[in-house]
Symmetry: C2
Subunit: 264 residues, 2 copies
């Protein structure tokens, strides 16, 4: 294939909540060659702000319900405070970042999750046509680096709180016809570990056909199963490779020594 | 001149704080033909949020001082809550809006106001090279409608609170070499009034050479003097015309029946 390379990277609270981790990550992100898109989650700032305002987080079956008050808070914190500070820090390094919610340029349109047993409130689910590939491509080709927060919209004025992992995956899938796209999930471990007690027992590569075997022998268990399932889904839909590893090892990505690589 | 038309419109609290006013304004803004950029101020949401969090607004000589706590609040409210809701509402009307702080795409770089007698805190002043004309032009030509909030950055990671009138004027001036640019200030009156007690006594047009005369005969007095002074400064620097009038009369803009028009 002769397509240009694009890397979509997702970071979560473990990077965002610690200013030194974030500083180092943004340094490494800036150094990454080729086209790139950053997707970030929330971290604990939103929870702290809600607490300061006396707003209780409503949980149903272990999942946060986004009522109208909580939506206001995550919009302020994710799209405002975190996104703009991250963009300003990237600009200081000479990286021409542009912060985006899903409403901006209509880049990510979602639908409010239907109410079944649980009403999750203002939470957005993505569908196959959620991502505006052309607009993101225009921004990339104008020399801009999109930094997407986990707020989307429904196309009918309503902002929606949306899972950042899901956004990263949908963006990578949608960009795959245009770019040779890799998707990188930064999380708290160095990758899929052969031995959970040994941080250095990283499984370097998992092919689609090996996934079943690794589930059966217990190498992939618990919360890792849905993560890897989603990774192979993204690959099935056109993403070249999905990496899962620790943010501070990002510089090793292009030497193929970053975390666990999943591929076709 | 053969340049394409661009309209830069600034709205403030009197439009933003009232959801019906905002709804109507966004409807009219969407209907406006040609390239356009929206610049919005803050409104009272930031003050209300500060109050809820027990943060006192510090005032020095009638001007709000932006300490680090207040900067966090205005970043959340202006760049997050207000900007993203406005963008989502424009998207719902089919207007491909993209919300921007000055850090996004480095579109507006400011410098922290130097401390003289008063330390205004994290307040940004603009200079001649503040606006990234090329990036704004790229966005416009990609079919996007920039919606700028009153948060800028210093290029060294620091976000700064910046006057929205000043941003609108700097953007209009910077875009003038590329577009035939009009600058529109929406405020609470229908324009410059010949008789302050008669809302319909709008002076339709003021030429640069008439400004002195209108100051002398008292038609332009008080807070209108600096407003008009800034308008003529923008015209001197290349803006085609500056309009000042009431947001709800925006549809009359292209029939030249909107507020007071200032021109060379």
């Amino acid at each position: 294939m002769n397509k240009e390379k694009l890397t979509v990277i997702k970071i979560g609270g473990n990077v965002i909540d610690n200013s030194e981790n974030l500083h180092n990550f943004l340094e490494d992100f800036h150094a990454l060659p080729g086209f790139k898109i950053l997707v970030h989650g929330g971290g604990k700032v939103a929870t702290d702000l809600a607490k300061s305002l006396g707003i209780e987080a409503t949980m149903v079956e272990g999942r946060r319900v986004t009522d109208i008050e909580m939506l206001r808070i995550v919009t302020m914190v994710y799209a405002g405070l975190i996104n703009k500070n991250m963009v300003a820090q990237l600009q200081a390094r000479g990286c021409n970042a542009i912060g985006l919610s899903g409403a901006d340029g209509n880049v990510i349109k979602a639908q409010k999750r239907p109410v079944k047993d649980v009403d999750y409130g203002f939470v957005g689910d993505l569908h196959d046509d959620s991502v505006a590939t052309g607009t993101l491509e225009s921004l990339l080709r104008a020399g801009l680096v999109p930094v997407c927060c986990a707020i989307t919209h429904d196309g009918d004025s309503q902002l929606l709180n949306t899972n950042a992992d899901t956004i990263a995956s949908a963006v990578a899938v949608a960009m795959s016809p245009v770019f040779d796209t890799s998707l990188v999930y930064c999380f708290e471990k160095k990758g899929v570990l052969r031995d959970v007690n040994d941080d250095d027992s990283v499984v370097r590569e998992i092919r689609a056909e090996e996934f079943e075997q690794l589930k059966q022998d217990g190498t992939v268990a618990g919360g890792m199963i849905p993560k890897l399932h989603n990774a192979f889904e993204a690959i099935r839909k056109g993403v070249e490779a999905v990496y899962i590893g620790k943010a501070d090892e990002l510089p090793a990505l292009h030497a193929a020594r970053f975390g666990t690589r999943m591929a076709r």
